[in-house]
């Protein structure tokens, strides 16, 4: 039925991230606290938005596997009771199963709302919206939050590359002959930390030489008014 509609994705992407993050927070609170009726309503809303926005399944897949494992654990531990005394006995608990299903339902909804939010909001907008949320909180400089979030995302691939390079270099010098775990931890972490700390050092210098200061306005939140 919705397939003839033009996708609302462009519209949703242009919407102010602050409104979207506010909706997200509301939806999350409702998902966590709501009773069955609320969950039904939210699921309906989520399905409608989902079909309007059309998210590529490829992106969803990895999250699904991880979520699936979580759901499995929750459902099984709640519905089955395993007694460890001999003979092993497994008993089925119907009330627990219903309970577990509700929790799984909540988690699925949370994840689907999260994926919707990610599909229509760019990383830069997310950072700006978070910074805006932090503004009224005393003692938390919102610009620092935004900067640190983007630095973190910038460092992450760097660390992964560095870790791969370190690991290969050590393998080719036969590190796998060493069984002592403390030695392995130390020898792996030290070069990784030294190298990335140097990068952070250089980055701090570069930021300073370009006159970074926490007192300016946060780019991205103001120019959208």
């Amino acid at each position: 039925m919705f397939s003839e509609h033009a996708s609302i994705k462009p519209f949703a992407s242009r919407m102010d991230a602050r409104i979207k993050i506010f909706c997200m927070i509301l939806a999350s609170v409702a998902v966590i606290l709501g009773n069955r009726a609320v969950l039904v309503a939210l699921s309906g809303g989520c399905l409608i938005l989902w079909s309007l926005i059309r998210i590529q399944v490829r992106h969803v897949f990895r999250s699904m596997i991880c979520l699936g494992a979580m759901l499995g654990v929750i459902f099984l531990t709640r519905s089955l009771t395993l007694s460890f005394s001999w003979p092993l006995a497994i008993s089925w608990d119907a009330a627990g199963a219903t309970d577990g299903l509700m929790t799984c339902w909540r988690l699925i909804l949370l994840m689907f709302f999260g994926l919707l939010w990610l599909a229509v909001t760019s990383h830069a907008d997310i950072r700006a919206a978070v910074a805006w949320l932090c503004k009224p909180v005393p003692g938390i400089p919102e610009k620092r939050v935004a900067t640190m979030m983007s630095l973190t995302l910038r460092f992450l691939p760097l660390i992964m590359d560095q870790a791969a390079a370190t690991s290969e270099a050590q393998q080719s010098r036969c590190i796998q002959n060493r069984r002592n775990p403390i030695y392995r931890f130390t020898k792996f972490s030290m070069p990784l930390l030294c190298r990335t700390l140097e990068t952070a050092d250089r980055l701090a210098d570069a930021m300073e030489s370009r006159c970074y200061s926490e007192n300016y306005r946060t780019p991205g939140t103001e120019n959208r008014k």
Partner: protein
């Protein structure tokens, strides 16, 4: 001796890293592998050391497949990576060179002997107690080479050993590699700048898009290297004019 027989490798994301490579490299050769960035030089080297597994084909080191005994392959083939910094493990120059022999569980005397020899070969013995992070670019590169030499590998594989070095650094590394070759080690190195090896190497292999496109004596091939995206050495350009 290294024998590579119709080696292919495809990365998980679908990139064809290597395609149908067959090569034989005899002991004592000095082989240059040239090609532009992304032509598959590093990928090939990682196979020699068992860091990557071939999708098809196999690699024999002195007649034994790499996969059959990876530890042996890693001792026979010493791989010096392009980025010297990420190879440096130790807190001093000496400790870093000792890292490999320690992993081989050798006796302390043997470790000391190997480290001393390796540091002498690359000319870093006077810096043994320095912190590696203080070294210059050329010294760091030579330290990385020393770390591999201490494994006493008869085959040395160097991935772009001249990148990011200043002129003195290049000269240091050049003479170090030449000396190692003169001692009878097999040298395989990759570069995209033939000027730096033209006087030393005997054989040139040109790679493009994961394939070997030319293989022969260095002097004979110098005229057609530009097809592989490699700059012709200056003296050839001058000769042609």
């Amino acid at each position: 001796m290294i024998e590579i027989r119709s080696l292919s490798h495809r990365f998980p994301d679908g990139t064809q890293g290597l395609e149908d490579i067959s090569l034989t490299i005899r002991s004592g050769e000095f082989v240059v592998i040239a090609g532009c960035n992304g032509s598959g030089k590093t990928t090939l080297f990682r196979h020699l050391n068992g860091l990557l597994k071939p999708d098809a084909g196999d690699i024999l080191i002195d007649g034994i497949p790499v996969a059959a005994d990876i530890l042996r392959a890693r001792q026979r083939v010493g791989l010096v990576f392009q980025d010297a910094d990420s190879q440096i493990v130790g807190e001093t120059v000496y400790a870093d060179v000792a890292f490999g022999p320690e992993n081989l569980c050798l006796s302390p005397d043997e470790i000391r002997r190997r480290v001393t020899i390796a540091l002498n070969l690359v000319g870093l013995e006077h810096l043994a107690d320095q912190r590696p992070h203080r070294l210059s670019g050329g010294e760091k590169r030579r330290l990385a080479i020393a770390g591999i030499l201490a494994m006493e590998s008869p085959i040395l594989v160097l991935d772009e050993p001249f990148s990011n070095l200043d002129y003195p650094g290049i000269l240091q590394v050049q003479s170090c590699i030449a000396a190692l070759h003169a001692q009878g080690r097999t040298i395989i190195l990759s570069t995209h700048d033939l000027d730096k090896v033209a006087g030393y190497a005997s054989r040139l292999i040109l790679m493009r898009q994961g394939r070997v496109i030319q293989d022969g004596p260095l002097e004979a091939l110098l005229q057609n290297v530009e097809a592989a995206g490699v700059k012709m050495p200056c003296r050839c350009v001058m000769k042609r004019r």
